[in-house]
Symmetry: C2
Subunit: 390 residues, 2 copies
């Protein structure tokens, strides 16, 4: 959960974003059974009946909740005014509040492209529109406000995220000895889980594919393992992250098993991946649209004679591994909508992870980087050479 002190400070970023976009009011409308994913951040979680968290452009926060939960919400100390309703339901209070304020634009959590900014459910949307009557025409997506809340990190959050990266790198270091001939991908996967248990760290995403261990040339996929044995001459790739005080890391590393000289094909694959990452880093800065960062890396890899990768170059990182934000991804509107059109902003953290599918295996040197005022800063150690193991 977002610390309350952080929330107060991030509210300023949210209100700035409202101001820039002429949005007067942001309504998060949630209830039990299908809670809005932003409710927890907004200290609006675990409420039973239809509940509206209303943030106004000047920062005023008002809650409309079932009367039996008004005291609970007041106690959380985030909403200046808490309006409880009884058998009349949430609609009259909502209508009265909005009608008094006469907002021109009301943001709600509806988003074609971003799951975490799409917390308004179908039935709740119908109820809200009926309650707001003529004001229902003034609803706009709150995407950019949700991004301000989630993806723009304050310095304390960057510090926690950096610690998450350090913890992830420590697990990688301790795991290295497990990657050797005779071991299976499943044994490496299980060893990582043991280390997580010892360190009392949760994985950054679903444990069945965190870490994902890929041995040799196999199809890409979100899979923990396939039951393959590691042998000399294999390329091995791990994709792994941890959660540290709620902040996620997400790193990939590539290994070569066995002594002797590294085959040219492996070297060539690695070099293309490194080049693609470095090209992306060279243009990542505030104001650049996400697709351009993807594009430079994608072109390089194709120019090197490898197939185009089937995913995005990178995503925002924060309290979710796939944090909402601009996507460093291609202009594939049917798949990614307009996510790649959004511009990179200062204080966002992104993964950089173009894949190079070589004949000996896939190389992906995923690293985590912070966008600074004029460029970016590597938060994780970038892999500049293939790691020899076994």
């Amino acid at each position: 959960m977002l610390k309350q002190e952080f929330l107060e400070r991030k509210m300023k970023l949210v209100c700035e974003a409202m101001d820039e976009r002429g949005i007067d009011m942001w309504i998060t409308f949630s209830r039990e059974g299908n809670e809005d994913p932003l409710a927890e951040d907004l200290r609006f979680d675990n409420l039973t009946w239809r509940s509206a968290a209303i943030i106004e452009r000047d920062g005023t926060r008002t809650a409309i909740v079932g009367s039996l939960e008004a005291e609970l919400v007041e106690g959380r100390g985030v909403y200046r005014k808490v309006i409880g309703y009884g058998r009349e339901g949430a609609a009259p209070g909502l209508n009265e509040f909005v009608t008094k304020r006469r907002p021109k634009k009301i943001a709600v959590n509806s988003s074609r492209d971003l799951g975490e900014a799409d917390g308004l459910s179908s039935g709740m949307e119908g109820y809200l529109k009926a309650a707001l009557k003529e004001y229902a025409k003034r609803l706009v997506p709150a995407e950019d406000l949700a991004i301000a809340l989630r993806a723009r990190l304050i310095p304390e959050e960057v510090e926690l995220l950096t610690k998450s990266i350090r913890e992830c790198e420590k697990v990688y270091d301790e795991l290295e000895g497990e990657i050797r001939p005779g071991r299976t991908d499943k044994q490496v996967h299980d060893a990582a889980h043991l280390l997580l248990e010892e360190k009392r760290l949760p994985p950054a995403w679903a444990p069945d594919h965190c870490p994902s261990v890929q041995v040799g040339s196999v199809p890409a996929g979100h899979l923990g393992f396939r039951g393959a044995e590691i042998t000399k001459g294999d390329m091995v790739k791990l994709d792994f992250g941890v959660k540290y005080e709620g902040y996620c890391s997400d790193i990939q590393k590539v290994y070569y098993v066995g002594g002797g000289s590294i085959p040219e094909e492996v070297k060539r694959t690695f070099a293309s991946a490194r080049g693609a990452n470095d090209a992306a880093l060279s243009i990542l800065k505030p104001g650049v649209p996400g697709w351009k960062v993807d594009d430079i890396a994608r072109r390089l890899i194709v120019k090197d004679g490898f197939p185009e990768y089937k995913h995005a170059l990178g995503h925002a990182l924060g309290r979710s591994t796939h944090e909402i934000g601009p996507l460093l991804g291609p202009r594939w509107p049917n798949r990614y909508g307009k996510q790649g059109e959004k511009k990179v902003e200062k204080d966002m953290v992104f993964t950089i992870e173009p894949s190079v599918e070589g004949k000996a295996g896939t190389c992906n040197l995923e690293q985590d980087v912070l966008v600074t005022a004029k460029g970016c800063r590597e938060l994780s150690k970038s892999q500049r050479e293939i790691i020899r193991v076994g």
Copy 2:
């Protein structure tokens, strides 16, 4: 998570419900960041991109997912066919599938009244409707299918839920000594949490108000405690439940603190609550609409001279504390919609919890009961006398 073996058997209940309602196809359409609350039950959780779980009336199950996760979903062994998509997105596959089948009614997770059956989000609904083109007109709410999946329990589930109730009752027994003069409501609340930790049981709902400890005559509310000290002559009410292997219990008990004879007002309050519960139990059986069960208890309490309670008489119980299902609640359409119109079905478990707000405090003898073929069976021990403590 619903056990896979249970899921296979509950699918029959779902398909029966589809058949009865002439529904040809049920689409659960989910993605990362705002997962459909039914996705986990359907072994469709933790997927990144737009993913459709399609259940047909004959039981056939098909998944349409991002190609990088096709293998992951296949591995879960629940979907006979898994269709992966690439940069074209989910729409073409969805359209092709539906067009081939020509369904008359397609159920989706949209519900005005039931949160857990309302997992289709605003942005996903827009995407789905565009993908289905003319078939978008054939969408209907999947409420009753979700209720069949969640609220109709197979015998093994009833057994687990009964164990949850036993564990809850054990905590109540061990906690009894803590309810005595000089203790505060907070100390009782904290003592319950300690017992939960010892037993490694999670609370059935949010820990900040599970248990809820109310001392004397205070306004009702979802609150853990208010900072009151327990003194002789107080009525004390606890509302508490645990989760056991994923199944929830939900029980309230009422205590009288100190020796001496119990005041008439307390006795009268207790008797009205007991009478209301018994009246509700006397008519709870398959086929009765939920509102009637509420109504008989509500009338009795008002007839006894107490105020009408501000909530529903009871709710379904299962893997959620407030499980979706028919609501044993009043016809307050602005608050509860048509939840009270739905009919009680065999193999559902309900709480029975009308409140009697007496001058000395509120009495609520919440108990958990199973609907049988011809009536109902008490799963928790019903409280027939006020418990003396201190």
